[in-house]
């Protein structure tokens, strides 16, 4: 699980082009949206594509996203339980 969390942090930094942010700056429980990393709705779309492309998870209900993308912890848990690749 900890490897997956580090992998997710690297991918988020790369996909969202988070200049000046390193994996060490993102704590596992930090909120990704709002006050935490400060991501927005366009980033949410990028993360949905990331789940589909890299882990074979299709989010059909957009309402699910809010809980899944709450933090690195919640993302890692959801991926572990649902990944198809």
């Amino acid at each position: 699980m900890s490897d997956l969390k580090e992998e997710l942090k690297s991918k988020i930094i790369s996909v969202l082009n988070l200049e000046d942010v390193t994996t060490a700056d993102i704590a596992d429980a930090d909120p990704l949206f709002g006050d935490g990393l400060g991501l927005d709705s366009i980033d949410a779309l990028e993360l949905i594509v990331l789940l589909d492309k890299d882990y074979g998870i299709k989010l059909t209900d957009p309402k699910q996203g809010k809980a899944i993308f709450e933090s690195i912890n919640t993302m890692a848990e959801y991926i572990t339980a649902n990944r198809t690749k």
């Binding site: 996909v15 082009n17 988070l18 200049e19 927005d40 366009i42 779309l45 594509v49 589909d52 492309k53």
Partner: protein, 347 residues
């Protein structure tokens, strides 16, 4: 008809021009077939959340627009008008490559959103909170000239006082690759390829230049922007007529600023045009800026400083004619059948 003055300007290009007009810092690059822009640190003026999504062209456009307005004492523009030849090609390439690489699946929104030609004008307006007329002209080599034409018409004939107008173009790897394949960019550099080209293709580059055009002449005005003209054909009679409309003849042009791009494909047009002006000082700019669709913005930026300083730096000169006063500059740009003219007067 009201007169129009250039009261603020800023540029980014292959030379360190964002710092101001310092031709002594210009470096002649005689080796590469594509120049990279010398860019400022954008982080000081664009929010980190916004900058991470911006391609080069958007950043160059926002930076130069901001600094041009600042120099003109931050007027609220009555219009934002941008010219671009190939728009936000970097994000267009990213999006198209993603379609191919991912077999038309997993398409992400950011590069698509920012791939349109009017992204720069839109982002400038968003940064400023400006809801005025916002327009982007995509018209090949005369994209900037067309934008200026729109601005001049609005300033001269409507009740507009201040308009932000500029040109911006960026490069991207696939575009450069394709342009090389079709001889739009040189395979190799010649010894004197801007003065006497011996091969097809230009030396390519990218950049941005923005100008604040206003109907009020100010103490810090650079020049009077008298007229622009663009056409698919340009005879000597048409040039004569253009000049006559502004009470000028060929011999009244003190400096002829041409966009010689180093390609044998365009040389004959430049030679024919230059022959109309045997009494003018001749200057050129693309050996410094490289060629891109809105490179006339770099020439206009340079010409404004030359008129204000009343001096032509040696690095621009093509002949050694001297004039006691520099009163008029005509900028001529040509590529593949399209001609553009910009007429400036000292003020």
């Amino acid at each position: 008809m009201k007169k129009v003055f250039i009261n603020g300007l800023s540029a980014i290009g292959a030379q360190p021009v964002f710092e101001g007009f310092a031709p002594e810092k210009f470096v002649l690059n005689n080796e590469e077939t594509a120049f990279c822009p010398v860019q400022p640190s954008y982080k000081e003026m664009i929010a980190p959340g916004a900058i991470r999504r911006m391609a080069k062209g958007v950043k160059m456009g926002i930076y130069t627009a901001h600094h041009a307005l600042k120099e003109a004492n931050n007027p609220v523009p009555d219009a934002i008008i941008v010219g671009t030849g190939i728009g936000c090609i970097e994000d267009s390439e990213k999006f198209l490559n993603a379609i191919i690489d991912n077999q038309e699946e997993f398409l992400t929104p950011t590069s698509f959103i920012q791939s349109t030609h009017n992204t720069v004008a839109g982002q400038i307006a968003l940064e400023m909170g400006c809801k005025a007329y916002n327009f982007t002209y995509v018209n090949g080599i005369v994209s900037l000239e067309t934008s200026i034409q729109d601005a001049l018409l609005q300033l001269q004939f409507e009740n507009k006082k201040s308009i932000l107008v500029g040109g911006v173009d960026e490069t991207a790897p696939t575009t450069v690759h394709i342009y090389k394949k079709v001889d739009r960019i040189k395979e190799y550099r010649d010894d004197e390829d801007f003065m006497h080209p011996t091969s097809k293709g230009t030396v390519y580059s990218e950049g941005a230049a923005f100008f604040v055009l206003e109907t009020e002449k100010k103490e810090n005005s650079y020049a009077e922007l008298t007229a622009v003209y663009s056409s698919n054909a340009l005879s000597k009679e048409a040039v004569e007529q253009f000049l006559e409309q502004h009470q000028l003849s060929f011999s009244d042009i003190d400096v002829l600023f041409t966009g010689n791009d180093g390609s044998t494909q365009n040389e004959s047009a430049y030679l024919a045009f230059e022959a109309y002006f045997p009494e003018s000082i001749r200057a050129m700019s693309k050996h410094l800026s490289g060629h891109y669709h809105t490179a006339s913005g770099f020439a206009l930026w340079s010409a404004c400083h030359i008129l204000k300083n009343q001096e032509i730096p040696a690095v621009y000169r093509r002949n050694q004619l001297q004039k006691s006063k520099l009163g008029t500059i005509l900028i001529y740009n040509y590529d593949q059948g399209n001609h553009g003219l910009i007429l400036l007067k000292a003020c």
